[in-house]
């Protein structure tokens, strides 16, 4: 009996971890219905087309495109295939953690699917 249990134990555990992993993704898909961003298992592959351009200044000095790309690991300008909230999440987290002391001023101009041009700023007024 003991040996049977020891054989079946890891098998059952593998199955349970797999099911839990898939359920976690189902939860993420449902959660995505109530938020604007699409991270991890929300599964919206290439469902968005956001044209954007960053303007970033640190201490009254405007950063170059290369510096911006290095700061956020995103090109300074481009078409992003996730929601714009994914970009703002990246900027916000960057500026609240590693860049907290920089007091960076960020202006993100963007449009979704050739819609009206919009603007997002960091820090928020």
């Amino acid at each position: 009996m003991a040996s049977t249990a020891s054989v079946h134990g890891p098998q059952r555990l593998r199955g349970l971890i797999g099911i839990a992993f898939l359920l976690l993704q189902v939860g993420t898909v449902i959660h995505a219905r109530f938020v604007g961003s699409r991270w991890l298992g929300a599964w919206a592959p290439n469902d968005y087309a956001v044209w954007y351009r960053f303007q970033v200044s640190v201490g009254n000095r405007a950063l170059s495109s290369d510096e911006i790309a290095q700061r956020y690991a995103l090109p300074a300008e481009g078409v992003y295939e996730n929601p714009v909230l994914n970009i703002t999440d990246i900027v916000r987290q960057r500026e609240q953690t590693y860049g907290r002391a920089d007091n960076a001023q960020v202006v993100l101009r963007y449009h979704r699917n050739r819609g009206p041009m919009e603007e997002w700023r960091w820090p928020k007024n």
Binding site: Q11, R14, N46, D47, R112, N113, R114
Partner: protein
């Protein structure tokens, strides 16, 4: 007699062997193909160090190059183990976990195709005979269902606004825009949007049920090749990995398959010798119909005209038999994959034509031409090689 395909019981480091591991053949084949994509497309090289992580605790390792290096080493060592059939389940788990950890460690690194690769390998690592391939199957179905649902609930997708803009950025076929100009405004983008939504829902539902599974696979292949044709983009690794994941939905024969051929034909014997050389898993047992004890209810003179394949309870003849022998030989999937892997410039930005050619070759559209070609070769086979070539 057809032999049951049993695990060899002995470790074989031959990357082209697919038996004797913890994973059944189609899943091990899928794992190896994914690994080849990861290695050849150098995806392992961009695994990140923690930077703006989705899991804040990983910031503990921020600016530590050791983290990224460990992920890269894990992927390389795990990949080698998968390819060499060494503890494949654990190796898949390691490679999949490395990708998922990389995604959690860096928001900018996140891409859906990387996430999908990580999930697939992670779930392949959790395979056990009791659940069978269902963990991987549900993963694929979930991706299509969620993607279709997301599109359906997006007003820009429903109106075609998204597709109209996306096409202006990514579609590189002038034919699309010419066709668009002939149609009423927004007709084509709206049609393309709804076609994508319908296909993605269709794939999810068809893959769910055994009877419609083959339709699901064909729809999936059509979507992948269609998107690739329109844009010449790979969507990261999606273009490769999504079709590979359909291997989890195919039924692979449990027994070796019998090939009945004309043993008096030199050409047929040459073909047999060639095919046997590349049948590393001994999946096919070639039998000369003149000497075979069991013709499997095939009329005695038929194999003189056509090659026959008996795969469990199904029989295929002529071009269909040849096609099934290609599809049931794991080596052929690597042969099909490798031409798709070089950079676009190698194909003058027309790589999608290779994908289109594959799809056409295996589709019923090509079957009449394939059958005619097969019959022409069969008719003339006695002139090609003398009948004396026998082994």
């Amino acid at each position: 007699m057809a032999e049951e395909l049993k695990p060899a019981g002995r470790w074989s480091p031959n990357p082209l062997r697919f038996d004797g591991t913890e994973l059944p053949l189609p899943l091990l084949l899928a794992a190896k193909l994914i690994i080849v994509v990861v290695l050849v497309r150098l995806e392992w090289r961009v695994l990140p160090n923690p930077f703006i992580p989705a899991l804040p605790i990983l910031d503990t390792f921020a600016f530590t190059p050791l983290f990224g290096l460990t992920l890269k080493m894990a992927v390389l060592i795990g990949s080698a183990a998968v390819l060499l059939n060494y503890r494949v389940r654990a190796a898949c788990l390691i490679v999949g976990s490395a990708f998922l950890l990389g995604i959690l460690a860096s928001r900018p690194y996140f891409q859906n195709n990387r996430m999908y690769v990580g999930c697939l390998l992670f779930l392949l690592g959790l395979y056990e005979p009791r659940t069978g391939p269902w963990l991987v199957r549900i993963q694929t179905i979930l991706v299509f269902f969620a993607a279709a649902l997301n599109k359906l609930l997006d007003s820009d997708w429903r109106s075609g606004q998204f597709f109209e803009y996306w096409a202006s950025v990514f579609v590189n076929k002038s034919l699309y825009f010419r066709f668009d100009s002939w149609m009423p405004a927004m007709w084509l983008p709206r049609s393309m949007s709804w076609m994508t939504i319908t296909m993605e829902f269709g794939i999810a539902f068809c893959l769910l049920f055994r009877r419609s599974r083959m339709w699901g696979i064909w729809l999936g292949l059509l979507l992948a090749v269609g998107q690739n044709f329109l844009t010449e983009r790979n969507f990261g690794m999606f273009f490769y990995v999504m079709p590979i994941s359909y291997l989890a939905f195919v039924t692979w024969p449990n027994r070796s398959m019998i090939v009945l051929y004309d043993g008096d034909c030199g050409f047929c014997t040459r073909v047999r010798m060639l095919m046997e050389r590349f049948d590393f898993n001994r999946s096919f047992v070639w039998q000369s119909f003149q000497r075979s004890q069991n013709l499997h209810a095939i009329v005695h003179e038929d194999p003189r005209q056509l090659l026959y394949l008996v795969a469990e309870h199904k029989k295929y003849s002529g071009f269909a038999a040849f096609k099934m022998m290609v599809l049931y030989n794991p080596l052929m999937y690597f042969v099909l994959l490798f031409p798709l892997l070089p950079p676009q410039a190698f194909y003058f930005h027309h790589r999608s034509l290779v994908g289109v050619a594959y799809l056409l070759f295996f589709s019923p559209i090509f079957a009449p031409a394939g059958e005619a070609l097969y019959k022409w070769i069969a008719r003339n086979r006695h002139y090609t090689f003398p009948a004396s070539v026998r082994t």
